[in-house]
């Protein structure tokens, strides 16, 4: 029973309006851009987007007016600046932002991943971050029953659907990610459904000779989408580096305003991710350069 769908089919089936969407990727690495473009094309709104570091894909969804709330550790692109659309929307009160530490978010996903209602952490203690999480109803101050020392209980986070981009998947939904996995493995295990787009899709059982190298087993994967350069302009470790000029251009527009971002989205997304790639990089020279550049770095 293979799980291969087009991005359009997978998103239409598994990302309902109002969903809690677990966002894969971190900063400039392995963001599920092809899947996010498809959410924008289909105009699926009212989303709660959750992740650790939320970056480019969140900002695009916010600029497209599709996000009601975020729960995150950070919203930024590090050296390339803040998420301008998100920042403005949060400042205007249009998007609610639930602030966590990265470990707090990872802990919430880890709870969902193993089917327990909460997990403890010793982070957050004494801070306004904790006070806000308590009033948001996702954290409770408690005490270690053995020592009486303070500890924070964090409620499990179980997204309706997780979307990630990976190096490789087989048709059964087994996934191999190279490089770091940030929060993604536990997020996927905690989610009710998961769409994985991958640079390469292989026959079912392609990884069965080395099952310990499978990052996410098929048990957690609902749909597989084949999309080379599906994380562009962010990187995929060992496949291609991030496209700095593309990220800088997006950020310059973001700094300018929401209208500029919406115009860019309207002008560039096209009818499919391959359309978009062709629009941004007609001859493929940019992509070839990113592949070559990654080759020099690994």
């Amino acid at each position: 029973m293979h799980k291969l769908l087009t991005a359009a089919e997978a998103v239409a089936r598994h990302v309902p309006a109002g969903a809690v969407v677990g966002m894969g990727g971190q900063n400039i690495n392995r963001c599920p851009m092809a899947l996010v473009h498809e959410v924008i094309r289909q105009g699926i709104g009212g989303l709660t987007v959750v992740g650790c570091n939320l970056s480019l894909p969140l900002d695009m969804l916010v600029a497209a007016g599709l996000v009601a709330r975020t729960e995150q550790g950070t919203g930024n692109l590090e050296r390339y600046g803040t998420l301008f659309a998100w920042r403005r929307a949060v400042e205007r009160g249009e998007v609610g932002a639930g602030d966590h530490s990265h470990l707090a978010m990872a802990t919430r996903f880890a709870a969902g991943a193993v089917g327990v209602p909460f997990l403890p952490t010793r982070s957050l203690l004494g801070t306004d971050l904790l006070a806000d999480l308590v009033s948001d109803g996702v954290a409770v101050e408690s005490a270690d029953p053995w020592t009486g020392r303070p500890v924070v209980l964090l409620r499990a986070m179980t997204p309706d659907v997780a979307i990630i981009h990976a190096n490789r998947a087989d048709l059964a939904g087994n996934v191999v990610i190279e490089g770091v996995t940030s929060h993604e493995v536990d997020m996927v295990r905690a989610a009710r459904a998961t769409i994985v787009s991958a640079e390469e899709v292989l026959p079912a059982g392609a990884f069965a000779d080395r099952p310990e190298r499978v990052t996410i087993p098929e048990a957690y994967v609902t749909a597989v989408v084949h999309q080379p350069f599906g994380a562009f302009p962010t990187s995929v470790y060992r496949a291609y580096d991030f496209a700095e000029p593309e990220i800088k251009e997006y950020q310059a527009l973001g700094r300018a305003g929401d209208a500029e971002l919406r115009e860019w989205i309207g002008a560039n997304l096209g009818a499919s991710f391959d359309d978009y790639l062709r629009a941004r990089d007609p001859a493929g020279t940019l992509r070839a350069g990113l592949t070559e550049q990654m080759g020099r770095l690994v």
Partner: protein, 259 residues
């Protein structure tokens, strides 16, 4: 010493930051000046210091010059590519990482850090990126080092929002909240401030900076150690290493470009 081998203010920040790392330490850093400091330490007095990156990279051999915690330049030759939970839970919260480098929009008298939001003069809020791993690092590391420009707005008496804990409201509060002991060192272009279950105390001045400079640019009135030291400038070899090998493209030193 020739002018060529005189450290720029921000270079001195990096050099003094590097000095906070002991050989053999596990050190958690992001990118920017802290990463340059940690790499410099590894290349000089702390060859056995090991880097941990919150994204899940453990013990990489850095290639110049990473701009993100998931930059492939920060992932090469690592002992492990794992997860955030492994790095921040399995190493930091587990208590294995001695030193963490942090930044923030505000650092207050008790070394608390704000990276969530700051008020505008009209009372509205400027939304900042948020905690990331900062709260976790400040909660669990034994030592936190902050490298920052010294501006009055960055050093309020009390943060408008406490994202990451220093000593909270004052002595004893950290332990009361359930947090372990911490030592904080703030390195700015004007001075070095230190705190251990106390308010920040100026312990050293940067070469050329005065007590008045510090007082004029700090939002609270810091104590000064009786015998103030002057931060020792780097020797030319270390500076050459920083400039030519650690950030040769001046990614984090635009002020050095074209000099």
């Amino acid at each position: 010493m020739s002018a060529e081998w005189t450290a720029l203010p921000r270079e001195l920040l990096v050099v003094e930051g590097a000095r906070q790392i002991r050989d053999g330490d596990l050190v958690i850093v992001g990118t920017g000046l802290p990463l340059l400091a940690a790499t410099l330490a590894q290349r000089t007095h702390a060859p056995e210091a090991k880097l941990v990156i919150e994204s899940g990279v453990m013990f990489p051999k850095v290639v110049p010059t990473p701009v993100s915690v998931v930059d492939p330049r920060l992932m090469r030759g690592a002992a492990r590519h794992g997860s955030l939970f492994e790095a921040l839970g399995g190493l930091v919260q587990r208590g294995l990482v001695r030193t963490g480098f942090l930044g923030g929009a505000q650092v207050d008298e008790y070394a608390n850090i704000n990276s969530t939001w700051v008020p505008r003069p009209d009372g509205s809020r400027v939304r900042l990126p948020g905690s990331g791993g900062a709260n976790d690092i400040a909660s669990h590391c034994r030592q936190v080092v902050i490298l920052t420009d010294h501006e009055k707005r960055r050093f309020p008496a009390r943060c408008d929002y406490v994202t990451s804990p220093g000593f909270l409201g004052g002595p004893g509060e950290r332990a009361k909240a359930g947090l372990g002991p911490l030592r904080v060192k703030v390195v700015t272009d004007l001075c070095v401030m230190e705190a251990e279950d106390s308010a920040l105390t100026v312990t050293a001045l940067m070469p050329g900076a005065s007590v008045t400079d510090v007082l004029d640019n700090t939002g609270f009135t810091p104590k000064f150690r009786d015998s103030l030291e002057i931060v020792v400038p780097p020797d030319p070899d270390d500076l050459r290493l920083l400039r030519e090998e650690i950030d040769p493209a001046c990614v984090y030193f635009p002020e050095r470009k074209g000099r």
